[in-house]
């Protein structure tokens, strides 16, 4: 608990007169767009500074910004999770890190820095994965803010928080604020699990990743990217066999670059560079401090408003593009009835009578609003195909070739699960 914190050996609070002068102007009186339930004055300040517990997921480009902003806003009890260590390419924007910190865990360095700079803040870092923590860990927080760089991780935390909600216990509803950036583009959203649209509801808004057909890569390259894909996807396994490709290892990138360049020379293709090689192989997303600052600030602003009720909060999605002037779009993303995470209803799916189980699985992997990577399927009575454990996989493997219609009646239910995602998707299969 925050009230017991001692910083710099001082037994008394580390606050000083007028420390929160700016924030208190908001907390001392309501504004025109403040909910009537707002309790101006000491009570809300006490909650914010002595009781509120907030979780920040990610200590990278967004995470560093979020941590600093929350600390200045007055949150005193902040937890921070990040599974990465610091890389030199982080330093152009992840401002809590210095060249000497390269190689150290982000969560730990970030916590150290902010605690040193902002007196009285307690930042509890965890160097590890969000999946390492269970429900009771997440239940302790009032708010969760995400600055993640992975769709899988976002889906995981989203589903976890939705599953935590117990309609009998309002405290189990943990607002989730999610931010993301890419170059000059960014978005911030507020998710109230089971109440508003959740992350899974908007899965189909994601851009499809660029993939190159294998025959182009193998036989008819035209672009420098094709040569690079050939080096990483085909040539690496052939030449370096069992060795796992580490895209952070400069030697590996160097090897791929020279192989790709040689292939490009052979096919008279221009444009293979070190930078392009790294970009393709690591799927590098351009990133700058300014966009991260904007989105992180939006997220923290929402956290402040939600935690204090001092002003209306974002309902519920903010998108920003900064390439041509400033273009932004604020809208309410609607909850999806068939959302496998927060919706109740099963998704109706009409397939050909001839389709095999394997084809159905491929569809589930690729369909924009589903995108489950290694799905396991079962009817309410029996398994169809399970990806794990190995014995069950072996036992159900013959079903892959069978027609779905042999195993599931018209209008029958199929339950889809995946080990990476803490939710199941219900399908009602009909045949055309």
């Amino acid at each position: 608990m925050a009230t017991g914190v001692h910083v710099n050996g001082a037994a008394t609070s580390s606050d000083w007169q007028d420390r929160y002068y700016h924030v208190d102007q908001i907390l001392d009186r309501p504004g025109p767009r403040t909910d009537p339930s707002f309790l101006a004055g000491d009570e809300v300040k006490d909650f914010l500074r002595n009781k509120c517990k907030i979780l920040v997921i990610g200590a990278g480009g967004l995470g560093c910004e979020i941590l600093a902003n929350l600390a200045l806003t007055g949150f005193k009890d902040i937890h921070l999770i990040d599974m990465d260590t610091i890389d030199i390419s982080n330093l152009n924007r992840q401002f809590l890190f210095r060249p000497a910190d390269v190689g150290r865990p982000k969560a730990i360095v970030a916590a150290e820095y902010v605690m040193k700079r902002v007196p009285g803040v307690e930042v509890t870092p965890y160097y590890g994965k969000i999946q390492d923590k269970g429900d009771d860990y997440y239940l302790q927080f009032n708010l969760v803010i995400c600055g993640l760089d992975s769709v899988e991780a976002r889906r995981w935390i989203n589903a976890t928080l939705v599953n935590l909600v117990d309609p009998e216990n309002p405290e189990s509803l943990k607002p989730l604020i999610d931010g993301g950036t890419e170059g000059f583009k960014g978005q911030a959203r507020v998710i109230l699990p089971t109440v508003s649209s959740c992350y899974e509801c908007s899965l189909d808004m994601l851009n499809k990743p660029t993939t190159f057909p294998i025959c182009t890569i193998a036989n008819t390259p035209r672009l420098p990217e094709h040569c690079i894909e050939w080096a990483s996807v085909l040539e690496w396994p052939r030449v370096r066999g069992d060795e796992k490709l580490d895209t952070d290892d400069p030697e590996h990138i160097g090897w791929l670059y020279s192989i790709a360049a040689a292939r490009a020379k052979e096919f008279k293709i221009e444009g293979v560079t070190w930078s392009l090689t790294q970009g393709v192989v690591k799927n590098v997303i351009p990133a700058i401090a300014s966009t991260n600052a904007i989105i992180a600030a939006s997220c923290c602003n929402e956290a402040f408003k939600i935690a204090t009720s001092s002003a209306a909060y974002l309902n519920n999605y903010f998108m920003l593009i900064g390439t041509e002037g400033v273009y932004s779009y604020t809208f309410e993303h609607e909850k999806r009835d068939h959302c496998p995470v927060c919706g109740g209803e099963a998704l109706e799916m009409s397939i050909s009578r001839d389709w095999t189980v394997e084809q159905l699985i491929e569809l589930l992997t690729e369909k924009q609003n589903i995108q489950i990577k290694k799905p396991s399927l079962a009817t309410p009575e029996k398994p169809i195909y399970f990806q794990q454990p190995p014995q069950l996989e072996e036992a159900t493997r013959p079903n892959l070739e069978k027609k779905v219609s042999e195993l599931v009646p018209d209008g029958g239910e199929v339950v889809v699960t995946a080990s990476t995602l803490p939710f199941s998707l219900s399908l009602i299969i009909t045949y055309m």
Binding site: W16, V118, E302
Partner: protein
């Protein structure tokens, strides 16, 4: 980099990137070495050490500007120490705000030079204005009304003086404006691509298309003809039997597309599918885009301007105007960049080579219209981006608020943003003689009314803006400061690198709804 032959280009192996390149990798992918070099040569002046100002600076120091100066004669107050990350809590109280902030900001990047100047802006404007005009760009946050007028007037005096970014905020509301005379952009990074000129094929392309003998071709080669060539040929064949015109009516276009698919010898020939999908290129006339054609009437191109007074950009634009007038096709110079398409390597590279050679010829022709020598790299970039050039012309900072007609118009088309802007203007005026004034909602409304004109009714949206300002007239919230820090730094970077398009007009921000809007553009 001038044109190299393919062999050299593909055998030059780069060595592993150095530490600086690795550090800046993620941003180099946005503005490349040229943008980075412009940043590293820049000198930025912030005329305050407020939390918003240091936030802006953070986002400029991290990407590596050359130099920054914080001009601020104030000492750190108790409240400053609580909302600014670039002060060290209560330890900083009583010290010079500029010195503390510069010290802590400089830690972010040792390639950047930072300087604290504790003089008073008022004195400098009086006695040493040339010091101010020596910077690349100046940013002023919540500057006193009278000083702001003096500063903006000074910087407007000469078109060569640096731009000024005016930033204002209170509580959850903010706006910012870039004052500049003229800003030209070659690398706007627009999403639109230049035309492949399928409707007006250059001779070598036309020849290639006409040379195809579909019935004598090997079936594998047939499936590898790039769609560009298929379309050029299909269009030529169509025109022969349709009075030299492309497909016009809906029926004709459907017929044309069916004709392409009918050329398939195997169902899976994706190049023909691609050609059918791209068939619209045959009946969409390639001409100079209207935005570019509009630039040809720019006053900077008038014959009265002397060559020596015209910047290289406008020399290039003048040459472009002349080139499009004189060329056979009356189009912009051909692009050398070909998008990917279904084909084998040989056919694709061959087509690419034809485009490159023709683009090179057209570029040479373009260059012949230049009246002064211009750096090769700039010429290359200009031609490559000719379809997406941008010229912005700005106005002095106070023009909008002085123009009642413009205000009234803006109040009806964008009431929310205009009301926020006016509320901030009212606040600035009410605090002009006494910065400790905490204005009431009534006095703010009265002031807005006087700016807009007594006879002009304020929309309902004014209530929210007025109420927010009255609630928190002195509040510099950390999240508002951080938000502005990102927004303004981004614009400064665009101005310095001359890449991407900066904001023209007042960008108004509401952090209760979390929305932005630009007025008086």
């Amino acid at each position: 980099m001038s044109s190299q032959d393919i062999v050299t280009a593909t055998t030059t192996i780069e060595s592993a990137p150095d530490a600086k390149t690795r550090r800046y990798d993620r941003q180099l992918r946005l503005w490349a070495a040229t943008g980075q070099s412009a940043l590293e040569s820049s000198r930025v002046l912030l005329v305050s050490g407020s939390a918003t100002s240091t936030s802006i600076l953070k986002n400029l120091v991290l990407p590596g500007i050359g130099h920054f100066t914080i001009l601020d004669h104030a000492k750190v107050s108790h409240s400053d120490a609580g909302n600014n990350f670039f002060l060290e809590g209560s330890d900083s109280i009583g010290k010079y705000r500029a010195e503390e902030a510069v010290r802590l900001l400089s830690e972010l990047n040792d390639g950047v030079e930072g300087r604290a100047d504790t003089r008073n802006l008022e004195n400098i404007l009086e006695s040493q204005p040339e010091w101010i005009t020596s910077f690349t760009i100046i940013v002023a946050h919540n500057l006193d009304h009278a000083l702001l007028n003096k500063l903006s007037a000074l910087l407007w005096k000469d078109a060569r003086y640096p731009p000024l970014v005016v930033v204002r905020s209170a509580g959850f509301l903010a706006d910012f404006y870039i004052q500049f005379h003229e800003h030209t952009v070659i690398e706007s990074h627009s999403e639109t691509s230049p035309s492949l000129r399928i409707d007006k094929p250059f001779p070598a392309l036309r020849e290639l298309a006409l040379s195809l003998e579909y019935d004598k071709m090997d079936p594998i080669d047939h499936g590898h003809i790039p769609y560009v060539v298929i379309l050029v040929r299909a269009l030529e064949d169509w025109k022969k039997t349709h009075g030299d015109s492309p497909p016009k009516s809906y029926e004709e276009r459907q017929q044309f597309k069916k004709g392409i698919l009918a050329l398939k010898v195997k169902a899976d020939e994706e190049n023909f599918d691609e050609a059918e999908a791209q068939a619209y290129r045959c009946w969409t006339e390639t001409k100079v885009p209207s935005e570019i054609a509009a630039l040809f009437s720019d006053p900077a191109l008038s014959s009265e301007t002397m060559d020596s007074d015209r910047s290289p950009f406008f020399h290039l634009l003048a040459a472009l105007k002349e080139y499009t007038k004189q060329s056979d096709t009356h189009t912009l110079p051909l692009t050398s960049t070909l998008p990917d398409m279904k084909s084998d390597t040989l056919n694709y590279i061959q087509l690419q080579r034809l485009y490159k050679e023709r683009a090179q010829e057209e570029k040479q022709a373009f260059k012949s219209y230049l009246r002064i020598p211009v750096d090769d790299c700039m010429v290359d970039s200009f031609v490559k981006n000719a379809h997406a050039l941008v010229v912005l012309r700005g106005k002095p900072w106070d023009t909008f608020d002085e123009n009642k007609a413009a205000l009234v118009e803006s109040l009806s088309t964008m009431p929310k943003e205009t009301c926020i802007h006016l509320a901030l203007s009212a606040l600035s005026l009410l605090q002009a003689n006494d910065t400790s004034v905490s204005p009431s909602a009534e006095s703010i409304r009265a002031k807005i009314q006087s700016i807009v004109g007594q006879s002009n009714k304020l929309p309902d949206e004014a209530d929210d803006a007025i109420g927010e300002i009255a609630r928190a007239p002195f509040s510099e919230l950390p999240n508002t400061a951080a938000f502005l820090g990102g927004m303004v730094a981004q614009e400064v970077i665009k101005m310095i690198t001359k890449q991407y398009v900066p904001v023209k007009g007042y960008c108004v921000i509401d952090l209760i709804e979390t929305s932005t809007g630009t007025i008086s553009a």
